[in-house]
Symmetry: C2
Subunit: 327 residues, 2 copies
């Protein structure tokens, strides 16, 4: 594959993707479709997944290890759960070329910055911590697609040591995949995401656990005269809110386990703040305070609508990536 | 409009809808489309809404009051927030014909049963409490459509006094609208719904309130160097889970205020049970217990998938309501 001729288009001759799942796979697909990459080398824990990725055309070459994948790569993307990041950075450090740029896609950034300093040594200057914020309730390379990032935000949280050139390369890469890129401090990222993403996930998991405990305990199974229809009934009743509310609980457990522990302080702080709100609402319900409840619900509905308005419309993907006739 | 000829199809000569919003409007539309109703008479608080409903062809006649609408109606559907139900039942009681069947659509049923006994007197025998469980984050007659109930569950919670004929009429009406109908005790309904619907709504409202407080308090507004992009940023970051999680917080505040207060005991019980779960997860996060967190998240993901499987697939609406060529 050759770069588009006659243009100063963004182009990565060799891209290494460590962890070819939903995120790594979708990035590779997007860059391939836009002809922004020559060769994609993949590495990962599961041979079966790597083989599938190659069959699907997401990667061109399978590597036996992260280090082998990193060797000769112009850009290395670490797309594993956050808990594996430090190990992978340690593994690839000796194999990295002098100009190789390294980035990650983890949902937590402060801890990743610390890991990178420890693991990469001087090469930390070419490390650009990143986080694409896109819906992720599905996982695995099967779910990957070239348009996953179109119109979505990618946060870059460079370290003090990060080279400006490296940051620009990663920014261009994500823009080539259709994303909007913002640079912000890692600590700020982790505070915002604890509220907008990590807390909703934790609460959704808790809600499903409560649902499972309650149905198992028979509270819902003793419906007089309708025992036979009860299982279907739970599912139908879940249309009343449970489904929307718990969509995030379908996310990858290992990824979320790692997020919870690596962004521990911020998540615990938000959980605490959340429980103050639910206790206040419980008090209003207990008091039967119709006016206060209606005020609160109305304000919440309006806030959500406003946040929705602020959210930039996703551009039509087909306009971003017109099929190119030139090779 | 005449009933379909030559068949013993279900047919309501005159249907009164008190409260022509999303639910009442969608029911009227479904019955009209299937030619299961002759004339639809609408009543409601807002003249503008009623006029809109008539313009949209959802109702045929506007009534000045619930009592006037009920007069001469074969079936009366009370489709207001639960808090208005008792008043409306009191108003229509003297106007009801001897064979008129009355039903409601409230999300809480025990309290509605009490209200009906108090308000309807002997006519309570023709009252069938009902609850269509369908997604309702939109509201108003504008959002109503004939297919809202297709494949969704409707729970009927007849009183001891309820006539079997009346229950059958209401069951046939909802089936004609494409719904699956289940009969269950009111207390059981309120326990199930507190978990599958009321709790998720309350938590979503609490989440949005926390989001609003946090952004207002400036915690998210001090992003170094990116102040100008901050508002758009909140919206983008909300793609990380906040949007899915809070979809239910767009629901009608008055409706949910009423639900919270009329199903108070069950909701408070579920809020308490939920906070036990979140406290346990907070402890696991605080301990950094990766194994326990992964186990819990995996179990939750599997539970949600199982509930999803149990949920009957929604039949294709176009197959349920083939356009009829005969008049």
């Amino acid at each position: 594959m050759t770069p588009p001729s006659g243009k100063k288009a963004f182009y990565i001759p060799t891209l290494a993707v460590i962890g070819v799942g939903l995120i790594g796979g979708s990035l590779a697909r997007a860059l391939k479709r836009g002809r922004h990459v020559g060769r994609v080398v993949g590495a990962g824990r599961s041979l079966a997944s790597l083989q599938k990725a190659r069959r699907l055309g997401v990667i061109d070459v399978m590597s036996a290890s992260p280090a082998q994948a990193a060797q000769g790569a112009d850009v290395v993307v670490v797309a594993t759960p956050v808990g594996a990041t430090e190990y992978i950075l340690q593994e690839i450090a000796p194999a990295l070329g002098e100009t190789a740029v390294v980035t990650d896609v983890g949902s937590v950034k402060s801890m990743v910055c610390e890991m990178a300093r420890d693991a990469l040594g001087a090469a930390v200057r070419r490390f650009v911590p990143g986080h694409p914020v896109a819906g992720k309730e599905h996982s695995g390379v099967d779910a990957s697609h070239a348009e996953l990032f179109v119109g979505h935000r990618v946060a870059l949280t460079p370290l003090r040591e990060t080279d400006e050139d490296a940051r620009k390369t990663v920014r261009r890469m994500w823009r080539a995949a259709g994303a909007r890129v913002t640079t912000m401090p890692a600590a700020e990222h982790d505070r915002v995401l604890a509220l907008t993403s990590h807390l909703p996930h934790v609460l959704a998991y808790a809600m499903v656990e409560l649902f499972a405990d309650t149905t198992r305990g028979g509270v819902l199974s003793g419906l007089g005269g309708v025992e036979n229809t009860a299982p279907a009934l739970y599912g139908d009743m879940a249309a009343g809110g449970f489904y929307d509310f718990t969509r995030t609980a379908s996310s990858d457990p290992e990824m979320w386990r790692d997020i919870c522990v690596t962004n521990r302080a911020q998540i615990l702080r938000q959980l605490q703040a959340f429980s103050v709100r639910t206790e206040r609402i419980a008090q209003l319900i207990s008091d039967g305070d119709l006016h206060a409840l209606e005020r609160l619900f109305t304000a919440a509905r309006d806030t959500r609508a406003k946040v929705g308005e602020r959210r930039p419309a996703r551009p039509r993907p087909t306009l971003l990536f017109p099929p190119k006739s030139a090779s």
